[in-house]
């Protein structure tokens, strides 16, 4: 059940930027650089993990893609169209058919006053996915596809009657209802019980294969990113600092921040965990950052140029890029 295109298309994000006002003056002087010049491509049939700590900008990227915010600048290209230039209800709806989103809080993302059936019916009705007579049947099919059985009974329930894992499956079913090409999953498992998380991750993997979907899996958890994703993007202070195939990046990270993350994550298989340096600075987006690398204050390998010139993303190995003067220096021309 693809999006009805003859050939599934890629979603290409170019230079996506979002600044928020940092002061309350009438003409804002100060801006929080929540997302700064982010570029990546989401390919059909792949799961791309967007990894970062709180405030790094990953949730903002998700919401920009879902058109809950308007970007400050940048382009989102899908099948040749620049989606940031969309105006008008009809074209907005067409976009929403292609790009869907699930939210982090399984409690908050469903309307407590409406049945599960309502949640799945509405997207079908709004976009006219199936004729009226077939709506009920499609609702049951969707529930079945995400493993909520028996669908007839689940459809009559209210959100508070389901567990967290079941609700998250409903949220995924709702996203699938419009037959999108891209699903942005914003921390889908971080609020679920541990034993239920793998089930949701497996579901994502299966759906990716069955429907050739492109997933953007936003998370702070490296282990689940490794389990489910094909590619990984690491964000810090609003910028992508490393990207590449997930196994390659995590086993031999180029950027010192990725190395720090790998050293910090609990890993029972490691005999004795190496100590990490306690340093100042955090992953949160900066206000009016100037030139220079934003990781400077925490970087163990910083050199002189790091404080003066903002490093660019450079492909230092096959398909793996990093934003670091030391480990991924720009090619001297």
């Amino acid at each position: 059940m693809s999006a009805g295109l003859t050939e599934p298309a890629e979603l290409e994000v170019q230079g996506l930027t979002k600044y928020f006002r940092a002061d309350s003056a009438v003409r804002a002087r100060s801006f929080v650089h929540a997302v700064d010049d982010v570029s990546f491509t989401l390919r059909p049939g792949t799961i791309t993990a967007l990894v970062g700590e709180s405030g790094s900008g990953k949730s903002t990227v998700a919401r920009l893609l879902a058109r809950l915010y308007a970007p400050t600048s940048g382009r989102v290209l899908f099948d040749g169209d620049d989606l940031t230039k969309i105006r008008g209800r009809r074209r907005t709806l067409a976009y929403r058919r292609q790009v869907q989103m699930t939210f982090q809080d399984p409690f908050g993302s469903l309307n407590p006053a409406k049945t599960i059936r309502h949640h799945l019916e509405r997207p079908l009705q709004i976009h006219g996915i199936v004729p009226k007579s077939r709506v009920d049947q499609r609702v049951y099919e969707l529930l079945d596809r995400v493993g909520l059985v028996p669908p007839g009974r689940v459809a009559t329930k209210y959100p508070h009657e389901l567990s967290g894992g079941q609700r998250q499956r409903v949220a995924i079913a709702r996203a699938l209802a419009v037959e999108p090409s891209v699903v942005v999953a914003d921390e889908p498992i971080s609020m679920l019980d541990v034993s239920i998380r793998i089930g949701i991750l497996n579901l994502m993997k299966d759906l990716k294969e069955q429907h050739n979907l492109a997933f953007l899996y936003v998370t702070h958890d490296l282990a689940s990113a490794r389990y489910v994703a094909d590619d990984i993007l690491v964000m810090y202070a609003g910028q992508i600092v490393e990207q590449g195939p997930v196994d390659q990046v995590l086993s031999s990270p180029l950027h010192p921040y990725t190395q720090l993350l790998m050293a910090s994550v609990p890993d029972p298989s490691v005999a004795r965990h190496e100590q990490i340096e306690v340093t100042r600075g955090h992953a949160a987006a900066a206000i009016d950052p100037g030139e220079g690398c934003r990781f400077l204050s925490r970087c163990p390998i910083a050199i002189d140029v790091c404080s003066r010139v903002t490093p660019q993303l450079v492909e230092a190995r096959s398909r793996q890029s990093a934003r670091c003067h030391v480990n991924a220096p720009a090619h001297v021309i």
Binding site: E53, S54, S163, G165, Q166, D193, V194, S195, I196, R197, I198, G199, L201, N202, H220, D221, L222, A223, S224, R226, Y227, D247, L250, S251, L260, L261, M262, A263, S264, V265, P266, D267, P268, S269, H273, Q275, I276, V278, H282, A283
Partner: protein, 343 residues
């Protein structure tokens, strides 16, 4: 060591007198209908200076155990059975005034969210002073000086004593409440999901700090979390809780190497590895039971891959009889009918 079936779990590995002993502890929540047993007759011991991890998912009762230990349960929750022995003394028999002195001096607690423990409108130093003066005679200046020392101990500049909580980052606030928990040099510090709300790098920093402090000051830690992979790294021993009961208890590396209870095995199957081959993992089907109406017999049986009606005899036991904790190795306890079947 043979398997025994006494009413209290056999614990032959006490080197010294245990600091804390929970014997048959039961905590119930009164509801409109029948009372709900959040903690159902558990036995647990914490030796001086050891780090005991208590792992389980939401609703298993682990936080209730912590609150019961600290004697801070509020209605409708109450201890309805068992004993809590601190150095041999039964806490459930003490008066509230004695408990007030006991709290914080002998046992202190670190909560998940620092903002639950810190007063947002008072400076950090003042909160230290208030706390210390509630327990001992100490002048304000002396208390403030001590507060500064404690902050340095957890890696914060002593001058931040004058800060308000909102001026500090999340990680720093968590360190502040750790410092407060250590202020009166307790013998046991209970930590209830102390790093869950923090980013992974900050979490690592705090855990390192806790490790250093624990080695220096020698307090015991009851570390409560759902993150089993974390416990395997930092704990000496780990107890796994499910539906108000302890289902397995063993040294940390034993849990990692050779878990015996199907729930523990399932939990281990829920943490994807950071290295090695990526294989499809199974997790655990279903969800934790409703404690108002727990399953008959073994509480895990509806979700257990080894509970099959075809194995009639075993199935009958699994659905009617609650398994008891039995010794299956040196220091390794499991409550499972399958394990009994072997020994």
């Amino acid at each position: 060591m043979t398997a025994t079936s006494s009413s209290t779990a056999p614990r032959p590995f006490g080197r010294s007198e245990p600091l804390i002993q929970l014997r048959g502890l039961t905590v119930e929540y009164a509801t409109e209908a029948q009372p709900v047993r959040a903690v159902d007759g558990i036995d647990l011991e914490i030796a001086p200076g050891e780090i005991l991890g208590l792992a389980g998912e939401s609703g298993c009762g682990k936080s209730t155990v912590a609150n019961a230990l600290m004697q801070i349960l509020r209605p409708p929750a109450s201890i309805t059975g068992g004993q809590i022995l601190f150095n041999g003394d039964d806490l459930t028999a003490r008066s509230s005034e004695e408990l007030r002195k006991f709290r914080w001096r002998n046992v202190s607690m670190v909560f998940q969210s620092a903002m639950n423990a810190l007063n947002p409108v008072t400076r950090v130093g003042t909160q230290f002073v208030d706390m210390m003066q509630a327990h001992e005679r100490i002048s304000r200046n002396a208390a403030l000086a001590r507060a500064g020392e404690l902050l340095e101990l957890v890696g914060i500049d002593a001058r931040r004593v004058r800060a308000y909580p909102h001026e500090l980052s999340g990680g720093m606030r968590q360190r502040v409440i750790i410092a407060m928990a250590l202020a009166l040099e307790p013998e046991l510090v209970i930590m209830d999901e102390p790093t869950t709300a923090l980013d992974v790098v900050v979490q690592r920093e705090i855990l390192q700090q806790i490790g250093v402090l624990q080695r220096e000051l020698g307090f015991a830690v009851l570390f409560i979390t759902h993150d089993l992979s974390l416990l395997i790294e930092i704990a000496d021993r780990i107890a796994i809780m499910y539906a108000g009961e302890i289902v397995e208890e063993a040294p940390a590396d034993e849990i990692h190497r050779a878990p015996r209870h199907p729930y523990t095995i399932g939990l281990m199957q829920s943490f994807p590895p950071l290295s090695g081959p990526i294989v499809r993992m199974a997790g655990i089907p279903g969800s934790p039971p409703d404690l108002a109406n727990p399953p008959e017999g073994c509480r895990f049986h509806p979700r257990c891959p080894h509970c099959r009606p075809e194995d009639a005899l075993l199935y009958a036991r699994q659905t009617t009889e609650r398994p008891r904790l039995r010794l299956v190795g040196e220091k390794h306890l499991v409550a499972c009918h399958l394990v009994e079947a072997e020994t």
